[in-house]
Subunit: 351 residues, 2 copies
């Protein structure tokens, strides 16, 4: 089983002859060159990135997965992480949800003029640590700078390529009535961690984002349970409710949840109540939902619970013929209600 790797790259910032990013650093000329040579390439260096070409090249064969995400989270530093490790973990996890082991990532920065080198460096270190922990290589990148007021400190895009595990067969078409819905841990902590910092919402909490890589966890599950794992998805933006609605719509099956079995920490639940939020709509960044065959559900759960990323895992519901295309929740007091897509925007820029 996967043990969370605690790598603490101890990497003091080199001396730069500038303390903030200027438009010139996005020019493609001398300043871009200096920034990359003295900072980015230095910390992220590997044989691929060192080619310093317009793209990276490598040998790869088989069933591949390819995913992209842009990260615009605000604030860029938050309890439990920052936009850097979030951007690495997010794309690694999207690939894991395809049953793939992430191998190579690209890294694109859009920086607002005036962004502090000190903050940029801290984020680069987090990126390096997250990449090492997930065992992926950043092989190609891009840096753009926009004028003050035309961006917001830092946006990051990561795209990734992974190799799909030979035993994986993740497709919504495999889901059938009777399958069991598992969640890998407690819900809603990423969203609440971000909200605790937002203007007008600030509250004292020790809640941290759950951002982490899930690839080691997911790959070991696939190795063990193969195509009895029907579907995987990480409930980021829009939360558990939106993801299940998407699957319900795609499969035209019913997704029946039992509220009392949905794991949530006391603190997160308290914060949700205070903010008037349904935790099923709150974003997660180190959590996944699995739809698995009934026959293996208990064994799957026990296996997952032994993993560092699955200690809080639980069976939260089942797939049904009735309520086709809908998500239905049996509440703690026994009532039933439909759970719809998130309408409007709970909180912008959660990831």
């Amino acid at each position: 089983m996967n043990e969370k790797i605690q790598m603490q790259l101890n990497c003091p910032m080199p001396k730069f002859d500038f303390d903030m990013i200027t438009l010139g650093h996005g020019s493609g000329g001398l300043l871009t060159h200096r920034l990359l040579e003295s900072g980015v390439f230095n910390i992220l260096k590997n044989d691929f990135l060192n080619q310093q070409h317009d793209g990276a090249s490598f040998q790869l064969s088989g069933n591949l997965a390819f995913s992209t995400d842009s990260y615009v989270v605000s604030p860029i530093f938050f309890p439990g992480g920052n936009i850097g490790d979030l951007a690495i973990n997010g794309t690694v996890n999207d690939l894991a949800m395809c049953g793939a082991e992430a191998k190579y990532l690209s890294l694109g920065f859009i920086i607002e003029e005036g962004f502090l080198m000190d903050e940029f460096w801290r984020i680069l270190v987090s990126i390096k640590n997250a990449a090492d922990a997930a065992n992926i290589k950043i092989v190609t990148g891009d840096t753009k700078v926009v004028e003050r007021g035309k961006g917001d400190k830092l946006f990051i895009n990561t795209s990734g390529i992974g190799i799909i595990h030979q035993k994986a067969n993740i497709h919504h078409k495999n889901i059938k009535a009777g399958d069991v819905i598992v969640v890998s841990g407690t819900v809603a902590s990423h969203g609440i961690a971000i909200m605790s910092l937002r203007k007008g919402l600030e509250f004292e909490t020790s809640i941290e984002s759950d951002t982490t890589n899930l690839n080691h966890t997911v790959l070991s599950l696939i190795e063990q349970f193969g195509n009895n794992i029907k579907f995987l998805r990480d409930p980021t933006r829009g939360g558990v409710a939106s993801v299940l609605n998407e699957i319900a719509e795609l499969t035209q099956l019913g997704f029946s949840l039992d509220q009392k079995s949905i794991p949530i920490s006391e603190q997160v639940e308290g914060a949700c109540e205070m903010l008037g939020l349904d935790p099923l709509y709150v974003a997660n960044e180190g959590l996944f939902i699995a739809v698995v065959a009934k026959e293996i559900a208990t064994e799957f759960l026990l296996f997952l619970q032994k993993d560092i990323n699955g200690t809080g895992a639980a069976i939260i519901g089942e797939v049904t013929e009735e309520n086709a295309g809908k998500v239905i929740l049996k509440s703690r007091i026994g009532g039933r209600r439909f759970v719809n897509y998130l309408t409007g925007e709970q909180l912008p820029r959660i990831c």
Copy 2:
């Protein structure tokens, strides 16, 4: 030889129940779903994107190339193109410069709240047309929305995977003294087209951006000349001068240019003079530089000149032992000067 494919997708905008993008369209909930279902997925649909998973999956084997770029060009519409086709062509071309045929692209949007659907739709149509012309598929994507004043209308990231041509061996280590430097057409038109629209610089011109895909052109050259093509690079940001400086530094060889042989249109040259710009630093988006073996240089040039993207191609210089690590220009009147990296920023957000 490759003829430029003129596909004009005739695609009227569907009826949306909103005329601009709101924060809710980035929520991951109902509005995101509606935007994608009725707009993005509709126009870009293909078997891969239709999987609607966190990532796309496909079979691919061999030597692959992987590249990423974020596009922050301002204004987003300009003579000869817009940010949409620029984003497709740019990444297709970066892969072509690795000797690779682009196959699959990802597409990430960062949209500023309030962006008009009408403009978004026009850009989507351009993306579709550019993707078809380059013969690539957009297989996965992401849409984020940031608050007004935290972005600037639209930023796009594209990342791409391509298959490296079996005969390709593009690496700066292959370059040696005596090799010949070829440029595929007239320089500086993209940068000047953008500048003509910038506040404080506006001037009347019929100069258009040269944005186009170069993959068909480059692949047919590689098929014909194999490893006699030593190196390829598209001189985008920073222009011809910055690209040649990078190669000079990597190879520790001299790059000697003959100013009178560098192709430039009269109009672009006039605009550069008016703006006080050296065209060697101005961005291009449909141009490439090739370093080729002397033995095939003439044949290479004639072959390239028959291609729609190479009609203006010219031999502009040679690689030398002397002036190691430097770019040197023989001016029209016979003097010689070093051409350095672009220092500072000529004009931000050119691509």
